[in-house]
Symmetry: C2
Subunit: 381 residues, 2 copies
């Protein structure tokens, strides 16, 4: 199917949830790929019976030179046509007519690929907290096996934002001969502030007694902890300017009074401001669609990403790259600040890689790569 | 006592805890003032048997024109000589020889003034969650009664950072004839991002089942929730640049391995990075010195601060001011960004008030008014 289907208000699958009313695309095929052998992980552990859930859009041409891999971010899914539809708009970055677009759910996630909620074939029980660290690099290696099975040896483009950008770069280092171009959007090794924010999200989940050390039952997940983690994440995805413009110091739109007394007449909590109502709403939406252990697994995958790990120098790692790289920073992103992305691109360029840097002017913050797709497309064209 | 006593490593009482090894000063007097009638609050409720815990440094002179009020921030105390000692250094802002310095613990706090942990004389029980909203303005009105009792009618200076700055400004609006100068440091009405951060801190405490709706026993407080709240606060008090410089992506200095497996062999949590170890340490330190309900009371005091509340316009409120105001923004403060403080100063200046703005160049973030006192003193001189 190569035509867009309008699904106003369809549930967003993006990292942070895009607005409703966006055109979303149905995949040509959506299914599972099961690795026929154990996946050897960077940690030294192996993962058995690995399933990758993936979606493809368009068809691989006879020359097999039209394949594109899109890598998703923290809470995304394989359904890139649902969370990044504007990338497929006529004349945009990808074409359903000319490209064969693959998107693969991350290992560790809860949208079809093997993750903490999956059954460990060796125990017959869900992994839960026993799920190993599956790194970005581990993911890329598994993805390569899936592409092999699809007959895709070479990618004309690999791209992604945030954790998706980390995967894209690792593709160019691990499989230099397989990637022609890569677009790495709002990504760099996680800064100390990013590590701090992720740590707080981890603590929010761990603090929830329903988490049970990761051994919660699916019907009794740590909802409050995951909701708070998501809210902490949300503030890092948005700029202060955007929150100010949207919410300011307005009382919650449902009529709560921040200056009033609590229901019981006390005053420790009080009526919410609008931004608090918004964050609570985002937290509630998220717990209906995501799993706490999967969230922890991916936070850690993000934290531990270091493209230099195992190489003796930046030059040794980055000089492997053959692809042409485009880095995109977002002007108001404080999770991956544009100057950090630019410096990262410069470091890679210094290793002799063709790497250009472009900046997206947006007050949306990190989320802009999902929230302002039309602007992003303009920049990538 | 007018001489400094060196207490290397004495426990810091500042809003966010200063480093050890600072000279701290003993007060001339530290004690309680009990209001002889109920305090009528902005909310319409009254608070009975109100106690203000306070400290004074130096002596009131015969002309009674050497009084200075220092207002403390979220988790500060009346012991300004302990948390802001450099302000008293020879030739700095305040002089133990020439000034009579008063500092009063906030109502709602847990350092001696009436707060949620105090006994409600009308029930004989601790207030707990029944403690009413006590606003910044309510605090200032109570403080004025205490100054009356000390024979202080006029302040040559009132100053404070963060919530302390909010009190300082309210002093100039509520008691225009009583204040000669005010220094308002790193303060403005809380932005949407600030409201968001405070909301997350509130949720962290509420999510802790030990909070018990605010009715926890003193020996069984919501320690994990309060520690997480503090950690969320900490990241807002520090700049990303400072965290990067201090911690970068280093593993926790105790030797944990962020790439290793968990104790049980799984990989959802992992060894901490250094910044995470630091935040956990800050959280642990805080729960030994602060109370969760007091924290909630002061968060709300901060959120609801609006110097225009009850006035028909900014002009009506600010044109009451007779004092000369100095605003200080901190270059790397993202909780109260310098441009916000500057705009706030401009707004007040536009009402005909003598208001100047100075910017402190520091990469410490909001905390700089405590962490870089020598720089602050230089700016205020």
């Amino acid at each position: 199917m190569t035509e867009a289907r309008i699904q106003a208000g369809a549930p967003a699958q993006g990292i942070h949830g895009a607005g409703g009313g966006t055109q979303v695309l149905d995949p040509t095929y959506e299914g599972d790929f099961v690795l026929d052998e154990h996946l050897l992980l960077e940690s030294g552990r192996t993962l058995a019976g690995v399933t990758l859930h993936y979606a493809v859009y368009g068809r691989l041409n006879a020359a097999r030179d039209n394949a594109v891999l899109v890598c998703h971010a923290l809470s995304g899914s394989a359904l890139v046509g649902s969370w990044w539809p504007e990338i497929f708009a006529p004349g945009a970055v990808l074409s359903l007519e000319h490209d064969f677009v693959i998107c693969i759910n991350l290992l560790g996630s809860c949208y079809g690929s093997t993750g903490p909620g999956s059954v460990d074939p060796e125990t017959g029980q869900a992994y839960g907290p026993d799920f190993p660290l599956v790194s970005i690099r581990d993911n890329v290696r598994a993805q390569a096996r899936l592409l092999d099975s699809l007959g895709v040896h070479r990618l004309r483009l690999v791209l992604g934002g945030s954790i998706g950008g980390m995967q894209a770069l690792d593709w160019t280092i691990l499989y230099p001969e397989r990637v022609e171009r890569a677009a790495i959007i709002a990504a760099a090794p996680v800064s100390a502030m990013g590590l701090a924010l992720n740590h707080l999200q981890r603590r929010a989940i761990e603090n929830d007694p329903e988490w049970e050390g990761g051994r919660y039952l699916p019907q009794r997940p740590p909802r409050r902890g995951l909701a708070l983690a998501r809210q902490i994440g949300m503030i890092s995805y948005k700029s202060a300017a955007l929150l100010e413009e949207r919410f300011g110091r307005n009382p919650n739109r449902n009529g709560e009074n921040p200056w009033g007394l609590d229901d019981q007449g006390g005053g420790l909590i009080g009526g919410r401001f609008d931004v608090a109502g918004y964050l609570d709403h985002q937290g509630q939406r998220f717990i209906d669609r995501f799993d706490a252990n999967a969230y922890l697994a991916i936070l850690r995958m993000m934290d531990t990403w270091d493209p230099l790990r195992g190489y003796s120098s930046a030059s040794e790692a980055f000089s492997r790259i053959r692809a042409q790289l485009t880095f995109v920073g977002i002007s108001s992103d404080w999770l991956f600040p544009p100057e950090t992305v630019r410096r990262f691109a410069d470091t890679i360029g210094a290793a002799g890689v063709r790497a250009d840097y472009r900046e997206m002017a947006s007050d949306h913050g990190h989320d802009a790569f999902l929230a302002e797709q039309v602007e992003l497309v303009r920049l990538l064209q």
